[in-house]
């Protein structure tokens, strides 16, 4: 029997040994990267034909009242509360949309699929989504398209042919540049930093990390990446992971990147509790309200993000434009209420704008 145990242990060890090669920084994906110029010259837009999907047999919805469901990655966190508010604002402004937000309480692919599936059965006219996994969500979104439902994504994309349009909050290389530039400014060119992310496979975070690695190599080659750690999108876990990083690397660690709206404040809290304010910089993506205490105490200098209320607002306007037939394949821009004209990029994506850096001077003006 002991021999059997040993064999089983050996088998498990062999399985662990079959891990395959990683990229420059852990947590990045292996798609091609496109780092921006170091001096801030904007990247050139590449013309690309429409690559989104089309609903089959969609009824004429022009000007008619439509019901729309918004299924974010998860509900009950500040970020998606803000997008949900933007969607509700736009729906109220449009007047002919009934929108509601519903979704899983954990960022779980299986549960998100089930939610969307149920809403397809209940017969909505439009679906807004932020994907937990770009491939896993595709079959259920294709099913929605096949039932004539208009499908628009925001925040986290699916495979392009599984939805019609995707509202891109900021291009990945733009965010990556903003994060790395601000970190370099705070800790200097020759310092080391670590990254706290959600999971290594979460599409946005993986893309950003890959772009950050590429941009850092091009424009700040002497900065040293130490480690990327996973913290789901969990408060306690993020705090613990950041504390572990601080203890593990000691004086070598000069900066922490928070890749989610949960990881950034949790990392700032870990730095505060370790009395390392001023010695360890925290730069990351987060909502202003969560960061205000740390920014006001000068513990955090730059918070990078777009405005999630605007993101939800734009997504709702895009969905309405698609349902009305005003936004068709081949369009180069779309009107989005108070945001004005938004540009179409990458075939079937709509760009919200350049990323925004919250600092001590401006953070007080925001409330989300």
């Amino acid at each position: 029997m002991i021999r059997k145990t040993l064999v089983a242990a050996a088998a498990l060890a062999a399985m662990a040994g079959s891990a395959f090669a990683a990229s420059a920084w852990t947590g990045g994906d292996d798609l091609p990267t496109n780092p921006l110029a170091c001096d801030g010259t904007p990247g050139a837009a590449v013309a690309k034909p429409y690559d989104g999907g089309e609903p089959t047999g969609a009824p004429d919805r022009k000007g008619k009242k439509i019901t729309v469901v918004d299924v974010p990655k998860l509900i009950g966190i500040g970020y998606f509360n803000a997008t949900s508010k933007g969607i509700a604002d736009a729906a109220m402004e449009l007047g002919n949309v009934e929108a509601k937000t519903d979704g899983p309480t954990q960022a779980n692919i299986d549960q998100q699929i089930t939610f969307i599936d149920n809403y397809i059965t209940s017969g909505v006219d439009g679906i807004l989504f932020a994907a937990n996994d770009p491939v896993a969500i595709a079959p259920v979104l294709k099913k929605a398209l096949s039932k004539g439902i208009n499908v628009v994504g925001y925040d986290a994309n699916s495979q392009p042919d599984a939805r019609q349009w995707f509202v891109n909050q900021a291009e990945f290389n733009g965010i990556a540049k903003a994060l790395i530039d601000n970190m370099a400014k705070e800790i200097g060119e020759e310092s080391a930093f670590a990254i706290v992310t959600s999971t290594f496979t979460t599409p946005n975070q993986a893309r950003w990390i890959a772009e950050m690695a590429a941009y850092a190599e091009k424009c700040h080659p002497k900065m040293k990446w130490l480690e990327t750690v996973e913290a789901q999108e969990d408060n306690v876990l993020s705090f613990n992971q950041a504390t572990t990083l601080i203890n593990k690397y000691g004086d070598e660690l000069k900066g922490i990147f928070g890749m989610t709206s949960v990881a950034t404040p949790a990392s700032a809290e870990a730095v505060t509790q370790a009395s390392k304010c001023g010695t360890i910089a925290v730069v990351g993506l987060a909502t202003p309200n969560a960061m205000k205490p740390y920014v006001e105490k000068d513990c955090v200098k730059s918070v990078v993000l777009w405005n999630p209320v605007d993101l939800g607002y734009a997504a709702m306007h895009v969905l309405r434009a698609v349902a009305d037939g005003d936004l068709k394949a081949g369009a180069t821009s779309v009107k989005a209420g108070k945001l004005g004209e938004l540009q179409v990029i990458n075939g079937s994506e709509i760009l919200l704008g350049a990323p925004f850096v919250f600092s001590k001077e401006n953070i007080g003006q925001f409330d989300f």
């Binding site: 029997m1 059997k4 145990t5 089983a8 088998a11 498990l12 399985m15 662990a16 079959s18 891990a19 395959f20 090669a21 990683a22 852990t26 947590g27 292996d30 509900i75 009950g76 519903d102 979704g103 899983p104 309480t105 954990q106 779980n108 692919i109 299986d110 549960q111 699929i113 089930t114 939610f115 599936d117 149920n118 809403y119 059965t121 209940s122 017969g123 996994d133 491939v135 896993a136 595709a138 079959p139 999971t199 290594f200 496979t201 993986a206 996973e230």
Partner: protein, 317 residues
Amino acid sequence: MTASLRSLLLRHETILGVLLILALIALAWQSDRFFTADNLLNQGRLMAEVGLVALAMTFVIVTGGIDLSVGSILGLVAILLGVFWQNMGIPLPIAMVLGILVGGIAGLVNGIIITRFGVPPLIATLATLALYRGLAEGISQARSVRGYPDWFFTLGQGEVLGVPTQLWIFGLLALIAAVILGLSTFGRATYAIGSNAVASRFSGLSVDRTLLLIYMASGLIAGLAAVIFVSRVSTTRSDMGTGLELDVITAVVLGGTSIFGGRGTIIGTLLGLVLMQALKNGLALAGVKGDGTIVVIGAVLIGTILISNIFRKDADG
């Protein structure tokens, strides 16, 4: 005659069956899209993975044990399926079989830790829950595997004679499980161990062998569920199946299987499973939001078990 009729009426399964019918009527009343063949078959597709694992879990809990590692085994097998196929270049059908076998080995390891080293099942599988998930994440290096061939999707997304493929597999295995637990000597040994493991040992039952087989089956079937899950969502991720064990245990316990062992049926588990899925789906269609649905399921679980216990005391008294 009246006594046996009374005991039949007061069985947990009967109470649960009545509750299920009431729930189905109420939910169909709330939304005209609930009681359609299309929706019901689709729900069958969604519950197949939890259902499969719940079949083996019924055996595990009837022995007085528990297997918390099933969700992690599912994640591990899903990742290995991708690694075997894409990174090692093993043909997909063989990779599927190998993946399921790894699930069996993972289950066997649980069984060995429990029987050989006398570790309580709760502790042993809590440890392997972390261990297997860690392996899955380590092996995957957080890469997901995609681009499976089209034929593979018939398992999770296709249908045979109008019924989702995985429902046929689930139905067949449910039948086999019901026969083994209800009618075979192996089934009687399972109940005996759950009622009194020491007495079973002294009665000459091979307790350890039975337990090993049951935990191994639990791993195997979690492996099978993993393959179906990958086929359904068309990608492999290391966080697949997180929290699955809780859904599975809820279905089994709702189905009247005693957490202390010795009591429980496959029919009960099926009823528990269907009731849970019907509530999740029906409430969503009736416009109840996700957080409300979880509250209702929790309330139904407590309520059902209380009612059943009150009647049982009556019957015993």
